[in-house]
Each structure stands twice: as structure tokens, then as C-alpha cells.
């Protein structure tokens, strides 16, 4: 293509004309490849969903019949439901830890200098850069050394340790963009530091807090390596699924998996929608 032709096309596009570029072979090949990859990403998920409605307890083609039995079985399975409940409890507790520890940490990193700050920053990020296996193992030896029995509490502490870095990085990034003049204005108008934090700072970093909390909760819900080493008698949902998978499969697992997919998709759509709207109103968050 000559420069003039490129120019013409660029200008046409800029004018928002309805004329579309002719799609060439290279682009369509790429499109096919890209869509194939995307489809590939969904094959197992689709399999999961399809077979959750399939009559046959064995997962094989051809499909036999439609049934909601597995869903019924899943929702009335006491062990599964308990594990689900445990996962929710652990998730909420872990997020609480993440926020209580993560917010002050992010502020300390953004606003103060102290000896060892760089080393500390690297330490905080370690759990999300290293395999969860290592964090899990090291926490196991720690609890054993401290004489603490494994239980849901150790799982909660493990998740808190592993996931707080998410809140720290998100809140830190938000604080770096934060306009501190409004905090000065608040102090100017008579507010003590805690009042400024509560009335001015916190409301304006809301998006980072909510976003990172959602991510942390979601990761906690599906967390495996750390949980694997720290679980006591009470199972979280992944641990329950793991025990069932090792024994032999029942399609109830497909059913619960599909439910989780559906709920996750809804949650993601909601948060994406919220972020999209926030950008539209042009608020300074």
C-alpha cells in the first residue's frame, strides 16, 4: 500500500464514514485463529455446563437426556453445602483481613519513607509472585512451630497472607493518582486527620477498595495451594471438590461448577458495568 492509500483510509476512518475497510485474507486468518483460541477456552466450560444437565452419570458422548437431578442432588448434599458455606465465611474473613492490613500498608508505602522500605515492598508482593505452594508450606511449618492446630482459622490467616498484596497494590496505585489537595482543603476547614480520612479520603478511593475486595474474595473462593496445606477438619469448597474428584466423579460436581460459573459471570458483568458507568460520569475516582 502506498502512503497515499494509507492516508486515505485513515482519513476515511477518522471521518467516521460508514465505509468499512475491505477485509483481507491475512486479517480473516487472524480472526479465525483468535476466535478458535477463544472457543478453545470455553470448550471445557461448555462441557461442564452441558453435562451438568445430562442424564448419564458417565461423561461421554452421545448425550442421553435432560435432567435437573444433579442440581437437586448438589443443593441437598450436606457436605457440599457446608463446604460452600465455609468458603463464603473464609472469603469474607480473608477480605476483612486484607482491608484492615492492606489499607494502612498502602498508605504507609505511598506517604512515608522508612528504612527498609524497598525490601518491605518486595516482601509484601512475594505471596502473589511466588507459587502458592511455597506460601502454603511455609505457613504450615509456621503454625506447627507455633503449636497451632489446623482449622478454618489457619486457612483464613493463610488466605489473608496470600491475598493482602492485592489490596495493597490496588490501593497504592489509586493513592498515587490521588489529588491530595482535597485532603489539604479538609484540614484547612478544621478536620483532624482521622476526620479527613473518613470523610474525604475513604470515599474517594472507594473504587479501588471495592474492586480489590471483589478480586480477593473471588481468589479466596477458588484458592487451592495455600488451603491444601492449612486445612483441618472443615473443608472449603475447593477442598471438598478435590476430595470428591480423587474418589471418583459424580455429575453433581458439574452442577455446582455450572452454578459457580453463572454466579461468577454475573458478578463480573456487574463490576464491569459499574466501572464502565463510573468512567462515563467522569467522576474523579
Amino acid at each position: 500500500m502506498t502512503a497515499t492509500q494509507m492516508d486515505g483510509i485513515a482519513t476515511t476512518q477518522k471521518l467516521g464514514s460508514r465505509r468499512r475497510r475491505p477485509i483481507d485474507k491475512g486479517t480473516s486468518a487472524l480472526a479465525v485463529a483468535a476466535m478458535a483460541v477463544l472457543a478453545f477456552l470455553y470448550v471445557p466450560i461448555a462441557t461442564l455446563m452441558v453435562f451438568s444437565f445430562n442424564d448419564n452419570p458417565v461423561t461421554r458422548l452421545p448425550l442421553s437426556g435432560f435432567t435437573l437431578d444433579w442440581y437437586h442432588k448438589a443443593l441437598t448434599n450436606p457436605d457440599l453445602m457446608t463446604a460452600l458455606g465455609n468458603s463464603v465465611i473464609v472469603g469474607l474473613a480473608a477480605v476483612a483481613i486484607c482491608l484492615v492490613i492492606g489499607i494502612p500498608t498502602a498508605f504507609a508505602l505511598d506517604r512515608y519513607d522508612f528504612p527498609g522500605k524497598t525490601a518491605f515492598r518486595r516482601l509484601v508482593i512475594l505471596p502473589i509472585t511466588l507459587p502458592g505452594l511455597i506460601t502454603g508450606v511455609s505457613m504450615l511449618v509456621f503454625f506447627r512451630a507455633a503449636g497451632v492446630d489446623l482449622s478454618l482459622w489457619t486457612v483464613i490467616v493463610g488466605h489473608g497472607t496470600a491475598l493482602t498484596a492485592i489490596v495493597v497494590t490496588n490501593v497504592f496505585a489509586r493513592l498515587q493518582r490521588f489529588d491530595r489537595r482535597i485532603e489539604e482543603a479538609s484540614a484547612d476547614l478544621g478536620a483532624r486527620p482521622w476526620q479527613t480520612f473518613l470523610f474525604v479520603t475513604l470515599p474517594n478511593i472507594k473504587s479501588a477498595l471495592i474492586g480489590s475486595s471483589l478480586i480477593a474474595f473471588t481468589l479466596s473462593f477458588d484458592e487451592i495451594p495455600v488451603t491444601f496445606f492449612l486445612t483441618g477438619r472443615d473443608n472449603t469448597l475447593p477442598m471438598y471438590i478435590w476430595s470428591v474428584i480423587r474418589r471418583g466423579i459424580t455429575p453433581e460436581i458439574n452442577a455446582i461448577g455450572t452454578i459457580i460459573v453463572a454466579v461468577s459471570i454475573v458478578l463480573i458483568l456487574v463490576s464491569v458495568f459499574m466501572m464502565y458507568k463510573e468512567n462515563q460520569t467522569g467522576s474523579r475516582q
Binding site: L30, A33, I101, L123, V141, I224, P225
Partner: protein, 289 residues
């Protein structure tokens, strides 16, 4: 009160409790793991000691080398496969999709699988690749196979495919981010100066996305090396990865010192990869403004 002292007080009030937490749950456990790696194995558990025996075992016993090399090999393969799948998708999204809404939709569609239970995604591969599974039924149905093949499951092939599948979105995200940052004017300039499409890609686009590619590779490599679930589900008996070995030491084998030593080794491998990739990125860093 002096303002400097006020600031110091504020800092300590803010940070002393969190600092204590971090030291207790992060620094101390890692240090304990490090120190246990020097302990001696003594039935039924272990005793405090300072000896390099565990590390020597790793150096001398060839089975550990085998497992280590296998882990590295598999992780590299997984990263390459994820790259091969992820880059075209990221490129397509960043450059070829004109509608902003469609692009957002497709991007979210790429990320959504991450939110489906990891265990279930790995497990469904078992059902897909198994002798009673979908792949076999499909191949028989269209006539390529006469009877189910056992070649697909319980080996390294299955592991690589499963893990690449799971980690591809992690490859797409940083690559897409770096593709988006490239000013279109650079590409147009390259084409304007006579470079054909592939030439432009090879000489301009690909180098400029190196940071994203490096990040994706590092991330995927780290995830693969640490994954002990997929090998157990679809890897079969001869596909032990270093992560499995570690898990066993803390499980049935009850050899915590050895497990800790292995953990330390894995830690250094991953840290090494991260540091190397950081240095590489900084060396070739181009500021796109």
C-alpha cells in the same frame, strides 16, 4: 507539638500493627521454612539441626534432578503453548476489533474462564481426554479412530495441554496491555516507509510488546512450576513435577526438612526467573511516553 514529631507519631500509629502482622505471617514463616531445610530427618518427624544433608540429597540423587528438569521443561512448554494461543488473540483484540464495546466484551470473555473453579477446569480435561471421553468419542464418530486411544491422558502431553489452557488468559492480559500502548502512528510510519505487514509486525510491534510478553512468560512459568493439582489429575504416574514432590514430603512422606529444602530451591528458581525477566525488560526498555 512539633510538626515533624507529629508526623512520626502518625506513622507509628498507622503502621505498627500492620508491620507486626507482616513480620509474623510473612517474614517469619519463610525464615522458619529456610531453617527447617537444615534440620535432620529423625523418625517420626525431624529434629533441629544445621546440616546441608537435605540439599546434598537433592544434588546427588538423580531422581530429583529428573523431576526438576521435567518441571522446567513442562513449564517452558506450557508458556510457549500459552504464548502461541494468547498472542494472536491479544493482537486480534487490540488491533483488529474496531468497535470498543465488542472489544471490551471479547476481553471480558477471555478473562471469565479464570473465574471458573480451577479444579473443575482441570478436571474436565480429564473427561475430555480420557478413553471414555469426548475427544475419543468425537474422533471415533468422525472415523479417525476405531477404538479409544489412551495416548491423550495421564502423560506429559495432557499436563501441558491442561495447564496451557488454564494459563492462557494470564498470557493474554499483559500482552494485550502492552499492545494497546503502542501508538498507531508508529505502525503507520513503518508501513509508510515500505515495510510489509509481516515486516512491520516483526520489526516494530513484536519488539515493543516485549515487556508484556516477558511478563506473561514469567507469570505463566511461575504458575506452572507451582501447580501440583494438574499433574495429579491428568499427569499420570510418571509425570511428577517438583511441586508434587514437595507436596508429598509434607504429606505422606513426612519428610519436612527435605520438602523445605525443595521449597527453598523452587523459591530461588522462581525468583531467579523473575529477576532475569526484570533485568531483560529494563535492558530493552523503550519509553513510549
Amino acid at each position: 507539638m512539633n510538626h515533624a514529631r507529629r508526623r512520626k507519631l502518625g506513622f507509628w500509629m498507622l503502621f505498627s500493627a500492620p508491620m507486626l502482622w507482616w513480620i509474623t505471617v510473612l517474614l517469619v514463616p519463610y525464615l522458619i521454612m529456610l531453617s527447617i531445610s537444615f534440620y535432620s530427618r529423625q523418625f517420626p518427624f525431624h529434629v533441629p539441626d544445621f546440616q546441608f544433608g537435605n540439599y546434598l540429597i537433592l544434588l546427588e540423587d538423580s531422581q530429583y534432578w529428573t523431576v526438576l528438569l521435567r518441571s522446567v521443561k513442562v513449564s517452558v512448554l506450557v508458556s510457549l503453548l500459552a504464548f502461541g494461543m494468547g498472542y494472536p488473540l491479544a493482537y486480534f483484540l487490540a488491533f483488529k476489533v474496531q468497535s470498543e464495546r465488542l472489544r471490551l466484551f471479547l476481553y471480558v470473555a477471555t478473562i471469565v474462564p479464570l473465574w471458573v473453579s480451577y479444579l473443575l477446569r482441570a478436571y474436565t480435561w480429564k473427561t475430555i481426554l480420557g478413553s471414555e471421553g469426548i475427544l475419543n468419542s468425537f474422533l471415533m464418530w468422525i472415523g479417525i479412530l476405531d477404538e479409544p486411544s489412551t495416548l491423550f491422558l495421564y502423560n506429559e502431553f495432557a499436563m501441558v495441554v491442561t495447564m496451557a489452557y488454564i494459563f492462557t488468559p494470564f498470557m493474554v492480559m499483559p500482552i494485550y496491555a502492552s499492545l494497546e500502548k503502542i501508538p498507531r502512528s508508529l505502525i503507520e510510519a513503518s508501513k509508510d516507509l515500505g515495510s510489509a505487514r509481516f515486516g512491520t509486525f516483526w520489526r516494530i510491534t513484536l519488539p515493543l510488546t516485549m515487556p508484556g510478553v516477558l511478563a506473561g512468560f514469567t507469570f505463566t512459568f511461575g504458575l506452572s512450576v507451582g501447580d501440583f493439582v494438574s499433574p495429579l489429575l491428568v499427569g499420570g504416574p510418571y509425570s511428577n513435577m517438583i511441586s508434587n514432590v514437595i507436596a508429598t514430603q509434607f504429606g505422606m512422606a513426612m519428610n519436612w526438612p527435605l520438602g523445605a529444602a525443595l521449597g527453598v530451591v523452587m523459591l530461588f528458581i522462581v525468583l531467579g526467573v523473575i529477576t532475569a525477566s526484570d533485568k531483560l525488560e529494563r535492558a530493552g526498555r523503550l519509553n513510549l511516553g
